[in-house]
Symmetry: C2
Subunit: 306 residues, 2 copies
């Protein structure tokens, strides 16, 4: 157990290891073919392949960290933590398909459509999205209905046409086009930022926080959401496929606008650090005491190497 | 206005016309690019194309009819009515894609991927699924949180791997295979039946009904869900493309198992009538008085010609 928070430095690796254990166990239990269910084994197999044994679990960790910051119920937060990961996983499955990015490598493994065929990949993605909302609406009273509804609302808005899917559509339409800085920001605010920010707000929804604290968490989520993409663009040109676990250099190869192509490499790296400082300032302004994990996650995602 | 229900025969066409007006207006308003939104116009255009100006709206009508049967709030029921139609619409978009059924004609129009490209079709389907859950979770207090959570649960379960997506995966895996009658029933219970049954239960969730009445509605939903597919299989061999608004005879061409291939045409037609009788018997046993619309919809869907 941790010592009192004022005397012991926070260890992200120890905290993450503990949380990741809970997350992996929960995901494996929820993305499963129940004994009683007649669901087709092949579909569930593709869903499990898409979700398990890979991924940094950044979104679930953000949910759990935000839940801690508002002294929420960690057991309740496990459902939104896994739900947001299912949405992320489905988006990767669909995004990798031949009609989208046509990627064959993901997390060091063949992508889902390579492994299971395109039709199964399409269905697995669809079913993972539905399962996310199933996780958020348990029948057993584990979560009060108001929290269930609130979580579904946050997740649906962040995933849909005014969130992730909308950002992907802008991305699709902008290949080879010279985007302005504002357009590039807007695309990433929707495509990646919305779900990262929603992760923070879903964690916060598992406890209680003042409107001012919620606003500060929203700002934190916006800053790390953007920083995440800036760093992704930087790593796309500085890292190799072995480190990255996916095809490197493909943005440039596909003539996609990126922060690096717009601002240059050095300015992009400086921008990421500036966003990190903004995120930490938002946490400091939140009035919340227990933000060690949120701070450390922001630092990790900006200073990661893959 | 209708005369008192004991003295005036129920007119499905008059009732449907009134409900369809409400449904179309609501769908058009909800699947729209808000002025304030930065959502990409192309994606919303594809979503609107997929949802508007077509379709029998059977599922929304079932929601509204079930709501009437339990004396629920018709205004509240409009949200689940449209949400279930969005799920149906997304499933058609994805099902028509080249990696699935590769269909080019739907409701007499080019399918979404033919019109907008595969990538946009994939995203439009994904965004329609998310929007369905957004519709069910309004922030404005129009629907109490417990109803929101209940509706999300019903819809997610009926759409996912133990519902529609699971049925589609069985369908995918069973092309060219000799299914038993039990396997064919199971496939269609999931693929089509789950969402039709969920439509009934979502309408019922907008009012109050005894457990016995809810069980009777569940039986009604199961019977019409199955009947719908039996009739679909019959029409696939008896109707032509002009009447059907989609490619006729494609099940046989793709060597898909159907009720007709398993039971023969006459027995399939008789089976549909038997399921209609079961559905009506369930309504009679429900103890609910205001089931005219549910009765008429069951009759219509079994005795339809397209």
């Amino acid at each position: 157990m941790n010592a009192p928070e004022n005397f012991s430095p926070f260890s992200l690796s120890a905290w993450s290891a503990q949380q990741l254990g809970r997350i992996e166990l929960a995901l494996s239990g929820w993305v499963a073919c129940p004994q009683a269910s007649p669901a087709p084994a092949g579909l569930v197999e593709a869903m499990r392949y898409a979700v398990l044994d890979g991924g940094k679990r950044l979104r679930p960790l953000l949910v759990l960290a935000a839940c801690e910051a508002v002294h929420g119920d960690a057991q309740v937060a496990l459902r939104p933590a896994c739900a947001v990961e299912l949405i992320h996983a489905y988006s990767l499955v669909h995004d990798d398909m031949p009609c989208m990015d046509n990627d064959v490598l993901r997390r060091g493994k063949p992508t889902v459509h390579v492994q299971f065929g395109e039709a199964q990949a399409l269905l697995a993605g669809d079913a993972l999205q539905a399962l996310a909302f199933e996780l958020l609406t348990p029948e057993d009273g584990a979560m009060v209905p108001a929290t269930q509804a609130h979580l579904c609302r946050l997740l649906a808005q962040a995933s849909g046409f005014q969130g992730m899917a909308g950002g992907q559509a802008i991305d699709l339409a902008s290949v080879g086009l010279p985007l302005t800085s504002a357009q590039l920001h807007e695309m990433h605010r929707l495509k990646t930022g919305a779900l990262l920010q929603a992760s923070v707000m879903m964690g916060a929804a598992c406890g209680t926080a003042s409107p001012a604290a919620l606003n500060a968490l929203r700002d934190y989520g916006a800053a790390i959401g953007l920083a995440f993409q800036v760093v992704d663009d930087v790593l796309d040109v500085t890292a190799d496929a072995a480190t990255l676990g996916k095809t490197a250099g493909k943005d440039a190869a596909q003539d996609k606008p990126t922060f690096v192509s717009l601002m240059g490499l050095d300015a992009s790296q400086a921008y990421a650090q500036q966003l990190l400082a903004q995120a930490l300032a938002s946490l400091a302004a939140s009035g919340l005491k227990n933000t060690h994990a949120l701070q450390a996650l922001a630092d990790m995602l900006v200073n990661r190497h893959h």
